[in-house]
Structure formats: structure tokens, C-alpha cells
């Protein structure tokens, strides 16, 4: 059973993400379906950077189950995260992306850049040990 760490937002608004760890994988779940608009992107980017820098060879899984909207700025944030993961010899997986959002990745050809799996379980299984 994964431990729930949670992410506490000082301003007492709804947290942008929740973070769970399952063995050595950090699972990031976006908790607000409007989360990936311009206003929140910088904050989420900082959260992801902190998770990547936490340890060597980080394993990060981003769960998009609650995401209904995605802008190009959010894509930029995800690319930045991917670049940092690679620099630290880590692994990044994206999972539970809805079909409308998958289309955005396909149009931008970012489905070639990211490892995208249909479910969280499949994403977890895909990490190299």
C-alpha cells in the first residue's frame, strides 16, 4: 500500500498535486482539472523539479486522470521536467491521459518524446529496475 505524503499548500487552497511514493517511484497526481493552465504551471514545475532533485536516478510517474485541459505552456513545463529527469539518469512516465489530451501530444509529436502508458499499473511495470 503506497504511503500518502500529500502536498500542503501554504495558501490553504486546493493543492495542485498530490504525491505518493510506491517503492522508489514518486507518483504525482494532478488534483485539480484546471490545474494545467498558466496560473498553476510554474508552481507545479517547481514541485516536479524538487522531486527530480530529491535523489539520483529518480523515477517519476505523472498521473493525468484528473486533467481535462492542457496548454502549450504546460507542455513546456513537462518537457522541462523530462529534460531534468534525463540529466539525472532518471525515468519519467505519463499515465491515464484522456483521449482529448492524448490528441494534443500527438499533434505536437510529443508522444514521441514521452513514455505514455494507458494506466498507472502499466506505467509502474514499465520502469527499468
Amino acid at each position: 500500500m503506497p504511503d500518502f505524503l500529500g502536498y500542503l499548500n501554504m495558501a490553504e487552497t486546493v493543492p495542485s498535486v498530490s504525491v505518493v511514493h510506491d517503492k522508489d517511484v514518486r507518483i504525482v497526481e494532478f488534483t485539480n482539472n484546471k490545474i494545467l493552465d498558466e496560473a498553476n504551471i510554474a508552481e507545479i514545475g517547481q514541485t516536479l523539479s524538487a522531486l527530480v532533485e530529491e535523489r539520483a536516478n529518480p523515477k517519476l510517474l505523472l498521473d493525468f486522470a484528473n486533467v481535462d485541459h492542457l496548454s502549450s505552456a504546460a507542455l513546456g513545463m513537462l518537457i522541462n521536467c523530462n529534460n531534468k529527469v534525463k540529466q539525472r539518469n532518471g525515468q519519467l512516465r505519463l499515465a491515464n491521459i484522456k483521449s482529448q489530451i492524448i490528441e494534443v501530444f500527438v499533434i505536437t509529436k510529443l508522444n514521441k518524446l514521452f513514455r505514455i502508458l494507458p494506466t498507472r499499473a502499466e506505467a509502474m511495470s514499465s520502469f527499468n529496475q
Binding site: E38, A39, S71, V104, K112
Partner: protein, 149 residues
């Protein structure tokens, strides 16, 4: 209220355009975006078409505010939207220097895939039925028809 034509029959009323003039400010842009999306949803656009309009509109507003006006407090963004059950037309105009559409790199090329920016125009042009850049790139007209794919 419509005007009578020469044959005595009332012509159809033109849909009323919604208009805003906002500062170069993201939160004001979001308010405009929400108002337009509410109108689109009230006109029973399909979910896919609402998604397309929302994404394209956000990208175009961000471009106007950030890349066009460079967040200059002295510069405005004008937005006009005309919504019917069949289509939505949106015009966005900034007061920036404009840009050359042809000079924007293709973000889908391998050498550009890992760049963090440069995808807004691609998304707008992919999701809209028609996109017209005028006034040196300072003005964009977006057209989305409420049709099945």
C-alpha cells in the same frame, strides 16, 4: 430585432458580437476565455469542439498578452467573439510589433521537440477550421464550426 428587406420579410438578426478590451494581464484574459466558453457551451457545441475552442483561445490570448504586448501595462488586447450554434468566430488583436508567421519554427521537427516553447500557433491552427493573421500578425481571426470531426 431585424431589418425588413425590400420584399417585406424580416431578415435574420445577426448574432451579437461580444467585445472586450483588456489589459495585458493573464487573469483578465482568463475571464474573457471563461465568458466565451460559457457562450459556446450555451450554444451546445460538442465536447470536442468546446475543448478545441478553449485550447485555441487560451493559446491566442497568451500569445497576445505575453508575446505581442510583452505584458506592457500600457498596451491593450481587444477581443471580439460571435457565437452561434453553428460556429464561433473570435478576433484577438494586440498592440505589439507583430510577427512573421512564416518565420516561426516548426515545433514538431526532431531538433525542436525538446524546446519548451513554440507550440501555441501549431495548436491553434490544428484545432480551428480557419485561422487568419492580419495587421502584421497583431490580429488573428479564429473560426471553429460546431461540426463532427
Amino acid at each position: 430585432m431585424g431589418n425588413s428587406g425590400s420584399n417585406g420579410r424580416a431578415s435574420k438578426t445577426s448574432p451579437k458580437a461580444l467585445r472586450w478590451v483588456i489589459d495585458s494581464d493573464f487573469s483578465q484574459g482568463r475571464d474573457v476565455q471563461q465568458a466565451i466558453i460559457s457562450a459556446v457551451e450555451a450554444n451546445r457545441f460538442s465536447k470536442d469542439n468546446v475543448f478545441a475552442v478553449k485550447l485555441s483561445l487560451e493559446e491566442a490570448l497568451i500569445n497576445a498578452i505575453k508575446h505581442g504586448n510583452k505584458f506592457d501595462a500600457g498596451k491593450k488586447v481587444k477581443v471580439e467573439a460571435t457565437v452561434t450554434p453553428k460556429q464561433v468566430e473570435i478576433i484577438i488583436e494586440d498592440e505589439g510589433p507583430g510577427f512573421d508567421r512564416g518565420g516561426v519554427p516548426d515545433p514538431t521537427l526532431d531538433e525542436n521537440l525538446e524546446k519548451c516553447s513554440g507550440r501555441g500557433i501549431l495548436l491553434i491552427e490544428s484545432y480551428m477550421n480557419k485561422v487568419e493573421w492580419t495587421k502584421g500578425g497583431r490580429r488573428v481571426r479564429l473560426l471553429k464550426k460546431n461540426e463532427d470531426k
